[in-house]
C-alpha cells in the first residue's frame, strides 16, 4: 500500500509539473513536504474546530446563513405576510432555494477547508520560527 501510495504521489507530481504547476514541484522532496501539509489538513484536521473564526469579533457576521429566515417588522400585517411567504412563495420557489442552498453548503465547505489550510500553514510557520529561535543564540548573550 505504501509503495503504491509513493507511486501515485510521484505520478501526481509529474502531472502537476507537466501542466505548468509550481516549478518548485520539480524537487520531489519539496513536493512531498507540501503534499504532507495538505494531507494533514484533509485527513487529520477537524474542520469544525478552527482558530480564525474563534478570534473574530462576531463570527456570525462572517458565517453563511444557510437557512431562509422569515421575519417582518410590521406588527399588524406582519404575520399575514409571513404566512403568504411560507405557504405560497416558498413552495413556488423551492427549487431555486434548494439549488442555492446546495451551492451555499459547498461554499461553506470550501471556506472551512481554506481556513484549515491557512491554520495549518500558520502552525507550520510558528513551529519553524520556534525551532529557529531555539537554534539562534540569544541576542543579549552575544558578544558586543
Amino acid at each position: 500500500m505504501r509503495e503504491l501510495g509513493g507511486e501515485i504521489s510521484s505520478e501526481r507530481r509529474a502531472r502537476m509539473v507537466a501542466r505548468g504547476g509550481a516549478p518548485e514541484y520539480r524537487d520531489p522532496e519539496l513536493y512531498a513536504r507540501v503534499e504532507a501539509i495538505f494531507r494533514r489538513v484533509l485527513d487529520s484536521r477537524d474542520h469544525d474546530a478552527l482558530l480564525v473564526p474563534e478570534l473574530l469579533d462576531d463570527a456570525d457576521e462572517y458565517a453563511l446563513q444557510l437557512r431562509l429566515r422569515y421575519a417582518s417588522h410590521r406588527k399588524v400585517i406582519g404575520p399575514f405576510l409571513l404566512f403568504v411567504k411560507r405557504t405560497v412563495l416558498l413552495p413556488l420557489n423551492r427549487w431555486l432555494y434548494e439549488y442555492s442552498l446546495e451551492n451555499f453548503r459547498r461554499q461553506q465547505r470550501v471556506n472551512r477547508l481554506l481556513f484549515a489550510c491557512i491554520e495549518e500553514l500558520a502552525i507550520e510557520n510558528a513551529a519553524l520560527r520556534r525551532d529557529l529561535e531555539g537554534r539562534t543564540p540569544d541576542r543579549a548573550n552575544r558578544p558586543a
Binding site: L4, I8, E11, L42, L66, R94
Partner: protein, 407 residues
C-alpha cells in the same frame, strides 16, 4: 434475564443497518433470555409512516411491542433544522428539536419505558440519533445499554449528543474507531463498554446463481457496490470517479450497484444499477465480483465490507472514513483511497494483480472468521452483560451500574 431492545423500526424487511444488527443480536439473546422488542409502527425510514399494526405480537421467540408514530417526518423541516444545528451555535432547544424532527416521534413508546422500563434487567438502545433512544434512554438510564452506531458526522458533535452519552449506563460499540469517537465527544466519563462488532454466517458454498447475473446484464469482471444507492453513502462521488476511470483507463469493467436507488444515476453502459436484489442474486454477485467498493464517508461498521470479505472479495474503501480504513488495515483485506488518483490506481492494481487481490480477499475472510462470527460476537455480548452487574435474579429490581472492568 429480562431484556428490552429499543429500536426505531423492526422487521424482517431490514437486512442491514442498525435494524439488522438489533434483530440479529435480539434473536440470539432470546436463546437464553426473555427478550422484548420495543419499537414503532414505522417501516419507511424517510417518512416514518405507520405501516405495521400497533400493539403486541410475536416474532419467533421475540415479543414485539409497537407504538404509533404521531407525526410523519417533513424532510423540508428536517433539512431546515439540520442547517441551523450543523452550522454550529444552535440553541439547546433547537438541538433537541433536531432529534424530534429526525423522529420517529412516538410518545407512547416513551410512556411505556417510563411506566414499565423498570421491569427489565437491561434496556438496550440502538442508534443514539433517533427519537426513541435520545428521549427514551434517560427514562431508564440506570439499566440502559447504548449501541450508539455513531458516525463521525455533525450529529455526534452536537452539544446535546455530548451531554447525552454519559447518561448511558453501559455501551456496546461496533468498532474501536466508534468507541474512540464517542469517548472523545462525550462531555463526561463513559460507563463500561465492549466492542462487539456484528455477526455473519459463513458464506454459502454454492455461490448463488451466476446465470441469473447474465440475465440481468452483469458481465465479469465487475466492481460491486452493495447497499443503499444514496449521496449520503458516497455514491455520487463513486459514480463520478468510476466514469472518469472508465474514460481514463479505457477498460471494459462494470460498476454493479445492488441496493435501493435514492438518487439519479447516469445512463451509462458500464454502470449497472440492479435495485434491491434477493439473496440468490446477492450471493452470486459476491461470489463473482472482482472488487467490492465502499465509498461511504460515515460508517460505524460496514456490514457490506464484512460480507465482501466473507466471500473473499478484496475491498477498495474510502480512507476518509476512519472506520472503513481501520477495518481495512486490521484485516489487511483491501486498499483505501482518499482521492481520484488513488481510487483509479488502486482499482487498476486490484484488477491487474489477480493473485494479490485474492490474497487480500483471503485475509479479509480470515479476519471475519476471527472476529465476526455470531458465536464469538454473542460470547462478548453475554460476558459483557454479566460483567456489568446484571443477574437473572435482578429482574424487576433494576440493575446496578456495572464495573468498568468490562472494558
Amino acid at each position: 434475564m429480562k431484556l428490552a431492545c429499543v429500536i426505531h423500526r423492526f422487521g424482517t424487511d431490514f437486512a442491514g443497518g442498525s435494524e439488522g444488527h438489533c434483530r440479529g443480536i435480539a434473536l440470539r439473546l432470546a436463546e437464553r433470555h426473555d427478550v422484548t422488542i420495543v419499537t414503532t409502527c414505522a417501516k419507511d425510514h424517510i417518512s416514518w409512516q405507520n405501516e405495521y399494526p400497533e400493539g403486541e405480537s410475536m416474532a419467533g421467540p421475540l415479543t414485539v411491542i409497537r407504538f404509533p408514530v404521531v407525526r410523519m417526518r417533513s424532510m423540508h423541516r428536517f433539512a431546515d433544522i439540520s442547517d441551523v444545528v450543523f452550522q454550529g451555535g444552535a440553541a439547546d432547544d433547537e438541538e433537541e428539536q433536531w432529534f424530534r424532527e429526525n423522529g420517529p416521534e412516538a410518545p407512547a413508546l416513551l410512556d411505556f419505558l417510563r411506566e414499565r422500563g423498570g421491569r427489565f434487567d437491561r434496556v438496550l438502545f440502538w442508534s443514539f440519533r433517533y427519537y426513541q433512544t435520545f428521549f427514551g434512554l434517560p427514562l431508564v438510564a440506570d439499566r440502559s445499554v447504548l449501541v450508539p452506531t455513531a458516525e463521525a458526522d455533525p450529529v455526534v458533535r452536537m452539544r446535546a449528543s455530548r451531554r447525552f452519552f454519559p447518561r448511558a449506563a453501559a455501551f456496546l460499540f461496533l468498532t474501536p474507531e466508534e468507541q474512540e469517537l464517542v469517548t472523545e465527544q462525550s462531555d463526561g466519563p463513559l460507563g463500561p463498554s465492549a466492542i462487539i462488532g456484528s455477526g455473519l454466517e459463513p458464506a454459502a458454498p454454492a455461490g448463488g446463481a451466476p446465470d441469473r447475473l447474465v440475465a440481468l446484464g452483469v458481465r465479469t469482471p465487475f466492481v460491486l457496490y452493495l447497499g443503499r444507492i444514496d449521496p449520503n453513502k458516497g455514491c455520487e462521488t463513486l459514480v463520478r470517479h468510476f466514469l472518469r476511470y472508465s474514460g481514463d483507463a479505457q477498460r471494459d469493467v462494470q460498476l454493479v450497484m445492488a441496493g435501493p436507488v435514492n438518487m439519479p444515476l447516469p445512463e451509462h453502459p458500464l454502470v449497472k444499477a440492479l435495485g434491491f436484489v434477493d439473496e440468490g442474486i446477492r450471493e452470486a454477485l459476491l461470489s463473482t465480483a472482482s472488487v467490492l467498493v465502499v465509498p461511504s464517508l460515515f460508517e460505524s461498521l460496514s456490514l457490506a465490507l464484512l460480507e465482501g470479505w466473507n466471500y473473499g472479495v478484496p475491498a477498495l474503501v474510502n480512507a476518509r472514513c476512519a472506520v472503513l480504513k481501520g477495518q481495512s488495515v486490521r484485516a489487511n483485506g483491501g486498499l483505501y483511497y482518499s482521492n481520484y488518483d488513488e481510487f483509479a490506481r488502486e482499482l487498476s492494481f486490484l484488477l491487474d494483480h489477480d493473485a494479490l487481490a485474492r490474497e487480500l480477499g483471503r485475509q479479509g475472510r480470515a479476519y471475519v472468521d476471527r472476529e465476526y462470527r455470531w458465536p464469538h460476537v454473542m460470547d462478548k455480548v453475554e460476558r459483557f452483560l454479566e460483567a456489568t452487574g446484571v443477574s437473572a435474579t435482578a429482574a424487576g429490581s433494576g440493575a446496578s451500574r456495572g464495573s468498568r472492568a468490562a472494558r
